[in-house]
Subunit: 198 residues, 2 copies
């Protein structure tokens, strides 16, 4: 036994992090113990606190330590725009890349009956209520263009019926800077069918 007891336990526990295999976990454990115990203590404290205190925003269901997240609580955001995403990480990506100033709704996944993910798991009742209570003029669906994502988008279009909300979807096509010959056939066919006037 070269890594007895607690050290072994730390290496094993670090493997719960995505992308961390046995070698990286060992490197991380040795690094913290030999060079940066204060950072290790700080990380342990923040992680324990985050696991207990971070919940879901009651309005948009993103991860938040408050009942209402900072975005939903901000008076600077345009409440007439609602962007529907799958995951909280999608919000971070959109905030970094675009100048979108509206609000969000986080589904937490895609409709997938085989995996037991139905409208209830995605809290679509909450979304329905949001679309019908007034105040939202456009709902932008930023959902992955997979089969399940398309089914989810179709379902949301359905629950918006009877409300004045305009449902839009972000464009899917050839990525910027992408070589046509390297793009997969499905994307290319989709881009062709969805061509726009110049």
């Amino acid at each position: 036994m070269s890594n007895p007891g607690l050290l072994n336990e730390l290496v094993a526990a670090l493997r719960c992090l995505p992308g961390v295999g046995p070698k990286s976990a060992q490197r991380m454990a040795f690094h913290l113990l030999q060079r940066d115990r204060d950072a290790g203590r700080h990380l342990a404290r923040v992680m324990a606190e985050a696991m207990e205190r971070i919940g879901r925003c009651r309005q948009c269901r993103t991860l938040s330590e408050h009942a209402l997240c900072a975005t939903c609580a901000s008076p600077k955001r345009d409440a007439s725009l609602l962007c529907v995403v799958e995951q909280p990480s999608d919000i971070a990506a959109i905030e970094q890349a675009t100048d979108y100033r509206g609000l969000y709704f986080v589904l937490g996944g895609r409709l997938s009956p085989l995996d037991g993910i139905g409208p209830e798991e995605l809290h679509l009742d909450l979304l329905r209520h949001r679309l019908h209570e007034g105040g939202v003029s456009e709902a932008i669906l930023a959902i992955s263009p997979t089969v399940e994502g398309s089914a989810t988008a179709h379902y949301i279009t359905g629950i918006a019926e009877g409300s004045p909300v305009r449902i839009t979807r972000i464009a899917h096509g050839v990525p910027l800077g992408g070589e046509l010959e390297l793009v997969d056939g499905g994307t290319l066919a989709h881009a062709f069918a969805g061509r726009t006037h110049l």
Copy 2:
């Protein structure tokens, strides 16, 4: 602000881990919070405990939660063999790759006067005592073949003088499976000079 407060803090704290940049840190935080809070809680607990309880073995100076590490305490190890390494992670590598059954001594680095690392920082007094107290018949130096590593090996040979300990060094040369044309010149020259009779 898409990652307010505590979530931001967790992402920032995760970056103390080696090899973790802003993107991976965010992915790790979201993964733990959305999919595996129990693993996150467990990791936080083990990490906090490890940072407090893991110290150095008083005999070999490897990381250990006990005053005497499991290897030094084991009656099954051959106490007449002492392998001198730079880091505790080197022990793990040797244990996995070889059938070495002796004991270890961890320097914690290499002599490097410019960085303020002298004989004291490497606890070479402890090593000198160990070599001269009797019981050790061979000390195997498994130190990196860098300039500083060679200086350290030379220094250790010096402090062993007057003791009956035989000082050996692990072989340095072309790695197994290595293509000659891809090996750096220094290694190749070293391998040439150190050729052995077949």
